[in-house]
Symmetry: C2
Subunit: 394 residues, 2 copies
């Protein structure tokens, strides 16, 4: 393995990412950052290595790399432990500023304690918030990578009906979908932010299991197959007259897209098709409405109004347990910013990537609704997970 891992256009791309990060640093009042989390490492290096990244408003990025990884680039320094970093920065004539950012929401307390000890005269600041803001707006290169993810995820979804056999459990169905996903190149590791998103390769929710709350931060619930992982498929046989919601991972290349489609076992009661139509109507509405500058909370309110107008309010985003968002940023991590929730007063920005998932949980039937991943463009939302959205019978 050789470093840096970025593609041939790397220097331009790296410079662009550095420029975006510095703008975010200035907005947060940070003069430098020492980064080590996987997501931020992947952002600057194009891959995971054992080491640290230093970036200040004036210097860097410097990649401090623990052997045996090769360090051929002038941007690299070989180190054994992070305690060497301050003196190596000094030797290169680089200043340690008054505030150094560390990743407060990505590193364990013990790690931050160690790293903040490297800079005893600096005030520690939160680099997680800086990098979340920076990464929310994608570069053209990132958008291409995510479009590829979307194409690949949609291609797998088009094979899903072939994974079904009559009398299957939801879990058996999920396992067959996982198998196709992996064979088609899904890396099998959904990278998430925070501790409250434990999952395997995604979620298949059939029938009333969709109405079971889960302790995690996912939009939908399910009891899971074991109390140690209480989310998603429960191992129950999928019965005629119930909906089967498939929300499986779309991570093929370090980035992810997020996508949900619904199938039925036999025919569903009319209310299920009505609710599903309402979900599609909400997406069509938001696809036009959401442009750079739109207040994010207004997407949520608009979706709620449309659900209410359709008489579906009590089923919107859950029934026994309703969640208070209809979408989220997505990229290197499955759950990036912005969160599309009522109190988010921030504006959409061009080239943000968001997954919108207006869903309904109907008692006795299951979950319906569609999720797509979108790029925010001046003309509205560009759907990068396009695929037939109707409920078809399995």
């Amino acid at each position: 393995m050789h470093f840096p891992l970025l593609l041939p256009e790397s220097e331009t791309e790296l410079n662009l990412r550095v420029k975006k990060a510095r703008e975010a640093m200035q907005a947060h009042g940070l003069e430098a950052m020492l980064l080590v989390s996987s997501a931020n490492m992947l952002y600057f290096a194009g891959g995971i290595f054992n080491g640290y990244i230093w970036l200040s408003l004036t210097d860097g990025p410097i990649f401090f790399i623990v052997p045996p990884l090769k360090t051929e680039s002038q941007l690299c320094r070989s180190i054994r432990k992070p305690e060497q970093i301050p003196s190596m920065l000094a030797a290169d004539g680089m200043k340690i500023p008054a505030r150094v950012g560390l990743e407060f929401e990505d590193l364990f307390y013990s790690e931050i304690r160690r790293l903040s000890g490297l800079f005893p005269d600096a005030e520690p600041g939160d680099a997680s918030a800086v990098m979340r803001d920076c990464r929310a707006v994608k570069t053209p290169c990132e958008l291409e990578i995510m479009r590829e993810d979307g194409r690949r995820q949609a291609a797998v979804y088009s094979h899903i009906p072939r994974c079904y056999k009559e009398g299957m459990t939801d879990l058996e169905f999920q396992i067959e979908i996982e198998h196709v996903l992996r064979r088609e190149g899904c890396l099998g590791f959904p990278r998430v932010a925070g501790r409250r998103m434990e999952i395997n390769l995604g979620s298949v929710l059939a029938g009333d299991n969709a109405d079971e709350p889960s302790p995690y931060d996912f939009s939908m619930g399910g009891t899971g197959a074991d109390p140690s992982l209480p989310v998603g498929a429960s191992g129950n046989i999928m019965r005629p007259g119930t909906a089967v919601m498939v929300d499986m991972n779309g991570g093929f290349n370090g980035y992810q897209t997020d996508m949900t489609r619904v199938w039925s076992i036999g025919t569903l009661p009319q209310i299920a098709y009505d609710a599903h139509r309402c979900s599609c109507d909400i997406l069509r509405d938001l696809e036009k409405f959401a442009t750079p500058g739109t207040e994010i909370g207004e997407l949520y309110r608009r979706a709620c109004r449309l659900a209410e107008d359709a008489g579906m309010k009590e089923y919107f985003m859950g029934h026994n347990h309703q969640v208070k968002f209809i979408g989220h940023g997505v990229g290197i991590q499955l759950n990036e910013i912005p969160v599309v929730m009522e109190r988010n007063r921030g504006p959409l920005a061009e080239n943000m990537t968001i997954a919108l998932e207006p869903k309904f949980v109907l008692p006795g039937i299951g979950a319906v609704g569609v999720e797509n991943t979108y790029i925010v463009t001046p003309g509205g939302l560009e759907n990068i997970t396009p695929l037939d959205e109707e409920i078809h019978e399995l």
Copy 2:
């Protein structure tokens, strides 16, 4: 879902775990702990819920639970946010002591900062270390659960040869093994400690890919299928004359066992069989040698001596990149304590569960060696992943 999730014998089992945790707290000088990490939650509650656990030397455990989870037990309190905990403890007549433990190595910095704000008059201490010690020695109930894991993992491993087809890549082979694992009940989520163990469902290392270093803390390397997850199978076709090491997940019930077996494509050079024999010899030796009270570092030294005596030192635990341990604790998390490394002067204790993995990486051939999960008993190590250890041809 109803709480507590523990089995009918729960009260006895919970009391035993609480007793062990209090002993560890006393050893670490902690008077109380507020726990929230998945692994520790699972330990006391038998499942994951949205909430917190309070345990002091004199009071608790109290399970603070965020709705909609039912809170039928007298041990439960319903809360909306952790800031309610101190006044609720006071209302129950429970004291907040001078030192309160929080999980420094399991929670993000931002989380610890919030939780330590609940107890402004208490000095924060490290509950992660307490719980690591507590959980290292398993209860009889836990041992039974892990024996079941071992039986199920070994059963899947016995099906592995059927996953192979000539001309396959290592990754295709791994995906077929994953499929069998999942169909046989593997939960698909290897719960690990720390940030440096990103992985999908395990590792298949074929040929020289085993000699590629990885940035993670696993015993073996591999380039992986993508720079965003650089470990394990690389997508190369498995060639005649190379060894294929399979180290796939054994988590079926909230606990895990860890197990490695090796197959060959065609026949291997003699040195591969010799090195593999040496690995088995090391295991046979340690199985007798290791009893409660044995210094853990001595297991490592003894294994190194046997590898050296066999003339295999330069291949032991890696070739281009050698790691400095031969095993680790295993249980709820894949990588628990003790780490079986030279500088670990602690003693083995009865009912610790450890995975021992003396492995060799041979240039041009690949990785060989066996890994089993063991229970430490007065009579030596009890192998809970028994299965034929020879190298068979695929």
